[in-house]
C-alpha cells in the first residue's frame, strides 16, 4: 500500500463527508502512528473530534465503523490488510479493546467453573480477533468463530470439549 496516496485519498473522502454530508467533524490523519497496543499496529490512523463526535459514536460507533469500512472499499484494501487502517474518536477503540479483554477474562472464568462453552455476542472480524488473541495463552481453553455474516461470533470452549457432537447453550456478553 502506498501510504501517502492512501492518506490523501482518505482525506479526499473525509473532506466530502464533512462538506457534502454537513457533519461538524474535524479529523487528523497520521501515517505510521506509534503502536497503540501489541495487537493493533495501523499504518494510517485517523482520529476524529468535533461537535458531531457523538454521531460517530452512537449505537456502538456505527458511523465511525461505517466510515472506516467505506475507506477500505475506496482504497480497495484486501480483507487481510484492513488492520492497516484505523479510525478512532475519543479513544473508542482502546476503550472497546479493554471491554473485550474484560469480557474474555469473565468468560474464561465461567467456562472453567461450568465446563460448558460460552458464546460471545456477534461482532466484527477485528473484534473477534481481539478475543482470540486475548484468550490464546489460556491452555485449558480454546476459541473458535462460528456463524455467518453479522451473526458470526466467538465461542470459548474447554480445551477438551467435543464441539462436533454437542451444540453449546447460547449465552452472551455485551
Amino acid at each position: 500500500m502506498d501510504k501517502l496516496a492512501a492518506a490523501n485519498r482518505i482525506n479526499e473522502f473525509l473532506q466530502s463527508v464533512v462538506t457534502n454530508g454537513g457533519l461538524h467533524l474535524k479529523y487528523r490523519i497520521v501515517i505510521d502512528p506509534p503502536a497503540q497496543s501489541d495487537w493493533e499496529k495501523p499504518e494510517i490512523f485517523v482520529d476524529f473530534s468535533g461537535p458531531d463526535s457523538t454521531l460517530l459514536l452512537d449505537r456502538g460507533a456505527e458511523l465511525l465503523r461505517a466510515l472506516e469500512l467505506l475507506a477500505f472499499e475506496i482504497l480497495r484494501l484486501p480483507h487481510g490488510d484492513h488492520e492497516k487502517i484505523s479510525f478512532d474518536c475519543k479513544n473508542q477503540r482502546s476503550i472497546r479493546m479493554q471491554e473485550l479483554r474484560m469480557a474474555a477474562t469473565v468468560a474464561a472464568e465461567k467456562v472453567r467453573q461450568t465446563g460448558t462453552p460460552f458464546h460471545f455476542a456477534p461482532m466484527s472480524s477485528r473484534e473477534r480477533r481481539i478475543l482470540h488473541l486475548a484468550l490464546r495463552d489460556q491452555t485449558d481453553l480454546r476459541t473458535e468463530s462460528d456463524g455467518e455474516g453479522f451473526n458470526r461470533c466467538v465461542i470459548l470452549y474447554p480445551a477438551d470439549y467435543k464441539s462436533a457432537t454437542t451444540k453449546p447453550a447460547r449465552r452472551t456478553l455485551p
Partner: protein, 80 residues
C-alpha cells in the same frame, strides 16, 4: 462553526465513483421525497452492495447521520 451546505447526492456519487470499476456509469438523483437514487453499471452493483450488504448499509448509516444534521430522513435506493 460556520454552517455548511449539505449535498448528500454529491457525497454518495463521489463515494460510489471511488468504489466501482466504471465511474462513468454512476448516476445519482435526489428525488423530491429525499430519496437518493444511485444507479451504477450492472457489473458494479455487487461492489456498491458489498458482502452481506455491508457497503450499502454503511452508505445508509452515513446518509442517516447527514439527515440528523439536515433534519431530514434520507433513503438510498440502488438501481442497475
Amino acid at each position: 462553526m460556520p454552517e455548511t451546505s449539505p449535498n448528500v447526492s454529491l457525497l454518495i456519487e463521489q463515494i460510489a465513483k471511488w468504489i466501482v470499476d466504471e465511474p462513468d456509469q454512476v448516476f445519482v438523483e435526489h428525488l423530491d421525497d429525499d430519496v437518493i437514487e444511485l444507479e451504477v453499471a450492472e457489473g458494479d452493483v455487487g461492489k456498491v452492495i458489498g458482502r452481506q450488504g455491508r457497503n450499502v448499509r454503511a452508505l445508509r448509516t452515513l446518509l442517516s447521520a447527514a439527515g440528523v444534521r439536515a433534519r431530514k430522513r434520507y433513503t438510498l435506493d440502488v438501481i442497475d
